[in-house]
C-alpha cells in the first residue's frame, strides 16, 4: 500500500488530532474507582455509587465513575490475587480480605482496624426463604434437618454467604442445652444431607430456588431474602427468621497496592468512609442490610424479623480459626461430605 504525499500528510494530521484529543481526555479530572464486591451487594452499590459521585463532585469538583465487579466472595478474592486491580474490596467475610493481605501483600495485615466497627459499615444475618404458606412448616434450624425437607445453600468452599450459613447452623447447635462440637457436627450434617444443589455463589442459589424452583427452603443472607420478596413478588415466598442466628459482618477495605498504583488511595478511603455517613447508612438500610449507625438502624429496625444474634468472635474466635477448623481441606465440611458419600454408597 502506498499513499500519495498529500494523502499521507492528511493521515498524519488526522492521527495527531486523534492523539491530542485522547491526551485531553486523560488530563481532565475524571477519576475512576474499581469496587470488587460479592454477590448480593449489586443493588446496594448500584444506588450508593451515584450518591458518592454526587457528594464527591460537590466537595472537590471532580467527577468519579465507579466500576463494579460482582461474584462469589471467595472467587472475587482469588481474582484480586490474580491481578484484578480493584481499588476497594467489599467482600462477604474477613477471611477473604485476610487472604489478600497474607498471600498477595495487597494491603496491610491490620486492615480491619483502619475503619470503624471492624471495617464493617453494615451487618446482616442468615435467615430462611420458604415458599408461600410455608408448606413444610419450617420455623427454626432443626426443621432444616428433618427428613423430606430439601435445602438450597451455596458451597462454603467458594461462597462467603455459605460459610456464614454453615457457621450460623453450627453456632445454633452449640448453644442448645448439652451442645458441644460433636452434637454440632451431627446437627449440621443432617442439614447438609438435605442439600440438593450447591451453587458457587449466593446469587446462584437464589436463582436455583426461585427460577428453577428447586428445594423447600433457601438458607441465605437476610438482605438477599428481602430483595427476593421485593423483586420477585411477595406472593410466592415468605421469610422465616430463626430464633438464633449469626451476626454476619461483611467487611470493606482499601486495596492499598492497587490504589497506590492508580493514585486513588485517598479517594478510595473517602469512598468507604462515605458508607458510614448518614446518607450511606440510609442507603444501606434501604437495601435491607443492618446499618451500624444507631439512627439509621432505628429507622429500619421494624423491617427486620426478631432474632437473637451471636458474633463470630464469641463462638469461633476469628476467621483464620473458623476457616481452618471448618472449611480447609479435611475440615468439618469435608468430613460431613465424606460421610455423606459413604452413606450414599
Amino acid at each position: 500500500m502506498s499513499f500519495k504525499p498529500a494523502r499521507r500528510r492528511a493521515l498524519v494530521v488526522a492521527l495527531a488530532i486523534g492523539l491530542s484529543s485522547l491526551a485531553g481526555l486523560v488530563s481532565a479530572a475524571e477519576l475512576k474507582l474499581k469496587n470488587v464486591s460479592y454477590d448480593p451487594t449489586r443493588e446496594l452499590y448500584a444506588e450508593f455509587n451515584p450518591a458518592f459521585s454526587k457528594y464527591w463532585q460537590e466537595k472537590t469538583g471532580n467527577t468519579v465513575t465507579i466500576d463494579q465487579s460482582h461474584g462469589g466472595s471467595g472467587k472475587q478474592a482469588r481474582a484480586l490475587l490474580d491481578g484484578l486491580d480493584g481499588d476497594v474490596a467489599t467482600l462477604a467475610l474477613g477471611y477473604d480480605i485476610d487472604v489478600l493481605a497474607e498471600k498477595g501483600d495487597l494491603l496491610p495485615k491490620n486492615w480491619q482496624t483502619l475503619l470503624p466497627d471492624n471495617s464493617t459499615p453494615y451487618t446482616s444475618t442468615i435467615v430462611f426463604l420458604v415458599r408461600k404458606g410455608n408448606p413444610k412448616a419450617i420455623k427454626d434450624w432443626p426443621d432444616l434437618g428433618r427428613d423430606g425437607v430439601e435445602v438450597v445453600t451455596p458451597n462454603p468452599k467458594t461462597s462467603g454467604g455459605a460459610r456464614w450459613n454453615y457457621l450460623a447452623a453450627w453456632g445454633y447447635a452449640l448453644k442448645q442445652p448439652g451442645g458441644n462440637e460433636e452434637t454440632a457436627k451431627a446437627f449440621v450434617k443432617k442439614i447438609f444431607d438435605n442439600v440438593r444443589v450447591l451453587d458457587t455463589g449466593a446469587r446462584g442459589s437464589t436463582t436455583t430456588f426461585t427460577q428453577r424452583e428447586v428445594g423447600d427452603v433457601l438458607i441465605t443472607w437476610e438482605n438477599e431474602a428481602y430483595l427476593v420478596l421485593n423483586e420477585l413478588g411477595k406472593d410466592d415466598y415468605e421469610i422465616v427468621t430463626p430464633s438464633l442466628s449469626i451476626l454476619a459482618e461483611p467487611p470493606v477495605a482499601v486495596v492499598k497496592k492497587y490504589a497506590d498504583q492508580h493514585g486513588t488511595a485517598e479517594l478510595a478511603k473517602a469512598y468507604l468512609e462515605y458508607l458510614y455517613s448518614p446518607v450511606g447508612q440510609d442507603i444501606v438500610g434501604k437495601h435491607f442490610f443492618r446499618p451500624r449507625n444507631a439512627e439509621a438502624l432505628k429507622k429500619y429496625q421494624a423491617q427486620f424479623g426478631k432474632v437473637k444474634l451471636f458474633t463470630l468472635k464469641e463462638v469461633f474466635g476469628d476467621w483464620a480459626k473458623a476457616q481452618q477448623t471448618h472449611f480447609s481441606d479435611g475440615g468439618t465440611f469435608d468430613q460431613i461430605k465424606i460421610v455423606q458419600g459413604l452413606k450414599l454408597n
Binding site: D39, D67, H70, G71, L81, D82, G83, D85, G104, E231
Partner: protein, 288 residues
C-alpha cells in the same frame, strides 16, 4: 447453466428412486420419520429461539429498548465487536498461511501442525482462560514484569481479545485445508511455469478459488468470537461496562433479576446468529 441441468437430473434421479417400489418406504414410516424430525426441530431449535424473543418482549418494547440502549449494553456491544474485529483478521492471515503450507507443500511435522491447529477445539474454553490467568496473572510467569511496566492483560481488554483469538483459532484453517487439498497444486504450478511470482500466484490463482471457503470460515469465526462465554468469563473480571462482552452482560443482567433485559440482550445475540445463518446460506448458494 451446466449446474442447473445437473440439478434437474439429480431431481429426476430422486423422483425415480422414490417411485421404484423396491426402494420406497411405506407411507407410515415416511410420515413418522418426517414427524419425528420436525418435532425435534420444533422443541430443541425453534422453541428456545422463540422463547428468547417472547421473554425479551414480556415487559413491552419500552423495557426492551431501554435494555439494548443502556450504556453498559453499548459498552458490551463495542467490546464484543472489538474482540471480533481483532480476532478475525488474525485468523484470516493465520488460517490462509497454515492452509497454504499444509496443502501445497510437503514437510516434516505436517501432521503435528494439523493436530495443533485443532487444539482449541479439543480444550475446554475454561481451561484456555485459566492458562492465560496462570501466564499473565499477578502471580503468573510474566505477572511481575507486566505489573512493573504497568501493562494490564488479564481482567482487561487484551485478555478478552487473547481468549477470543485462542478459541477461534482453527476456524479459517479448518475450512480451507480440505478445500485447498482437493484443489491440488496444478493451477499454481501452471502459473509459476508461465512466469508468475509467488505473490502473483497467490492473488490471481489461489485466492479466487478459495474465496467462498474463506468467507465461510470468517462467518463461523465471527459467530464464535461474539458468542464465546467460558474462556472470556475467566479472564474478564466482570467489570460492568469495562470488560463484559455481550454473553457476559446477559449473565450479569440475569443475576440481577432483570430477566426481560437479559433476554433483550440475548435476543441481540440470537439476531446475530440468524444474520450469520443468512449470510452462510447466501455463501453456500453463491459458491455451489
Amino acid at each position: 447453466m451446466s449446474g442447473m441441468v445437473g440439478g434437474i437430473q439429480a431431481y429426476h434421479g430422486a423422483e425415480l428412486y422414490e417411485l421404484s417400489p423396491a426402494t420406497r418406504e411405506p407411507k407410515w414410516a415416511r410420515y413418522t420419520i418426517l414427524g419425528l424430525s420436525l418435532t425435534f426441530f420444533a422443541i430443541f431449535l425453534l422453541m428456545p429461539l422463540l422463547a428468547v424473543f417472547v421473554e425479551a418482549l414480556r415487559k413491552g418494547w419500552d423495557v426492551y429498548w431501554q435494555a439494548i440502549t443502556n450504556p453498559d449494553t453499548g459498552a458490551a456491544i463495542r467490546l464484543t465487536l472489538l474482540a471480533a474485529a481483532i480476532a478475525i483478521p488474525l485468523n484470516v492471515v493465520f488460517g490462509v498461511a497454515a492452509a497454504w503450507c499444509i496443502s501445497k507443500f510437503e514437510f516434516r511435522g505436517k501432521q503435528l501442525l494439523i493436530t495443533l491447529i485443532d487444539l482449541p477445539f479439543s480444550v475446554s474454553p475454561v481451561v484456555a482462560g485459566l492458562v492465560y490467568v496462570l501466564v499473565f496473572g499477578a502471580h503468573g510467569w510474566f505477572g511481575e514484569w507486566l505489573s512493573e511496566h504497568n501493562i494490564k492483560i488479564i481482567f482487561a481488554v487484551p485478555g478478552i481479545v487473547l481468549a477470543t483469538i485462542f478459541v477461534t483459532f482453527p476456524f479459517v484453517a479448518r475450512e480451507l485445508i480440505p478445500l485447498m487439498q482437493a484443489q491440488g497444486t496444478d493451477a499454481e504450478e501452471a502459473a509459476v511455469s508461465l512466469g508468475a511470482s509467488g505473490w502473483q500466484t497467490f492473488w490471481r490463482v489461489t485466492l479466487p478459488s478459495i474465496k467462498w471457503g474463506l468467507l465461510y470460515g470468517v462467518i463461523l469465526c465471527n459467530a464464535r468470537a461474539m458468542g464465546e462465554f467460558g474462556a472470556v468469563s475467566v479472564v474478564s473480571g466482570h467489570l460492568r461496562g469495562q470488560t463484559t462482552t455481550l454473553p457476559l452482560h446477559v449473565e450479569i443482567l440475569y443475576n440481577e433479576y432483570q430477566f426481560a433485559a437479559a433476554f433483550a440482550v440475548a435476543s441481540l445475540l440470537a439476531l446475530l446468529a440468524l444474520v450469520t445463518l443468512g449470510i452462510k446460506l447466501f455463501i453456500e448458494w453463491k459458491s455451489a
